[in-house]
């Protein structure tokens, strides 16, 4: 933080940013660690403070990737009614829907709970590893666009809540045996939220292209 903002201003012109929600032009300011810059007109989030180190984010993403694998490999819950036992994992549930002629729904569940979260995690690892080593990831622009379009469709936290509601419904007439994947999903939900909060898109661009050409400054 500069003690004299006026001095800092005369030394370098700061990049101009436009609010994505109301299009207001503003000068980018330095934000203290953990802080968020908000639009002064509509209150929309402009950007978050850049991280000094990428390690915490990378650690969260790698841990989430391991748990994601566990959550997909093991059964979520088992059901026991009069000695008959039935277990399911996530992909098994998708298959069951597919076989019940509910193919669009099976596809939607597959996309939002398996494919999109997997792509999201893979993309974040692909971006963070080279950046940590001080290199620009190959195909960065394409990857960032993929990340942007994939993000809203990963819905594991909603799925987690869905498991809870389903279990409560089932406990009324059967014995429910929680599986390893259930706990993995619970922790994964928290890790993904932490990773998403820690992953900073603007930071990635600034590290990859410290002084982009064509940028408007004022």
């Amino acid at each position: 933080m500069s003690p004299h903002p006026t001095v800092a201003k005369t030394i370098t012109a700061r990049p101009v940013i436009a609010c994505h929600e109301c299009d207001l032009l503003q000068r980018a300011i330095a934000v203290p660690p953990g802080g968020v810059a908000r639009c002064r007109r509509c209150g929309g989030e402009l950007y978050r403070a850049a991280h000094r180190r990428l390690d915490p984010t990378l650690a969260l993403v790698l841990a989430a990737a391991v748990l994601f694998a566990v959550a997909n490999a093991f059964p979520i819950v088992g059901l026991e009614i009069q000695g008959i036992r039935n277990v399911t994992n996530l992909f098994g549930a998708v298959q069951a829907l597919w076989n019940q002629e509910m193919r669009p729904i099976a596809a939607l569940v597959f996309l939002t709970t398996i494919l999109m979260p997997a792509v999201n995690l893979a993309v974040m690892i692909y971006l963070l590893l080279p950046l940590k080593l001080g290199r620009r990831p190959a195909g960065l622009t394409v990857i960032m666009r993929v990340l942007q379009s994939v993000k809203p469709w990963g819905m594991l936290e909603v799925f987690m809540l869905g498991i809870i509601v389903a279990l409560v419904k089932l406990t009324h007439f059967a014995t429910v045996v929680p599986g390893l994947a259930l706990w993995s999903f619970a922790v994964l939900t928290l890790l993904l939220a932490a990773a998403a909060a820690s992953f900073n898109v603007r930071d990635v661009w600034d590290r990859a292209y410290p002084a982009p050409r064509g940028e408007v400054r004022a």
Binding site: L25, M155, F159, G162, V165
Partner: protein, 214 residues
């Protein structure tokens, strides 16, 4: 407040929706502008956003009817079969004592989709009338619609798990009903509609001088 604050569009500047870089719009030579940093296609406003949002929203309204009237879950057991709509599922949870989960499912499956449809309609109408009332609140409403919409998927996931688990031959079988398809469509359509809506249009009536609507 002094003069009207400047927007990027009013100053002939384009902000990139992928990397956030603000760059000068190329001359009026036609052709599409590309971001100098990430080469994404640039627009002053999302192209045809309002008409696309309307189309998706109307489709969502249509699907909302079967989503609520048809059964979302079909249960057959030794004691006969039963069809559950979204609402009767909520009532079942409520009457079996899980009033907290009943409230949760009610909010996620009934309230959120309905409020989302109404909110998007309100936003689209107000933008088309170039309304000037409560821009901050309308922007906040848009933000809420974008963030909350995904939670409507809850019922789809509940049905998915129940349909996969409760397959115990003649004892009890649960299958997903036709409303699941309609409901899934409502969620996806409203999410796309919210993505197509450009919140910057809420603020454009305050900048009469901006003619850019690319």
């Amino acid at each position: 407040m002094n003069a009207t604050p400047a927007t990027a569009a009013a100053c002939g500047l384009l902000s990139c929706h992928v990397c956030g870089l603000v760059s000068r719009a190329p001359g009026t030579g036609g052709g599409t502008a590309h971001c100098p940093r990430c080469s994404a296609r640039l627009h002053f406003r999302k192209p045809n956003g309002t008409s696309r949002a309307w189309a998706l929203l109307i489709a969502a309204y249509i699907m909302y009817i079967p989503a609520n009237l048809l059964p979302i879950m079909e249960t057959s057991s030794l004691f006969g079969s039963e069809n559950d709509t979204i609402m009767s599922g909520v009532i079942f949870l409520w009457s079996s004592g899980s009033w907290d989960l009943a409230g949760l499912v009610f909010i996620a499956s009934i309230l959120v989709p309905l409020m989302k449809l109404i909110a998007l309609t309100l936003l689209l109408v107000s933008v088309q009338c170039r309304a000037r009332w409560l821009p901050v609140q309308r922007t906040r409403l848009y933000r809420l619609v974008e963030q909350v919409g995904r939670w409507s998927m809850l019922d789809i996931y509940v049905v998915t798990i129940l349909a996969a688990l409760v397959q115990i031959g003649s004892l009890a079988t649960i299958t997903a009903g036709p409303a699941a398809l309609a409901f899934g469509a409502v969620v996806v359509l409203t999410m796309f509609a919210a993505m197509q809506f450009d919140p910057r249009l809420i603020w454009d009536p305050f900048h009469q001088e901006s003619q850019h609507h690319d």
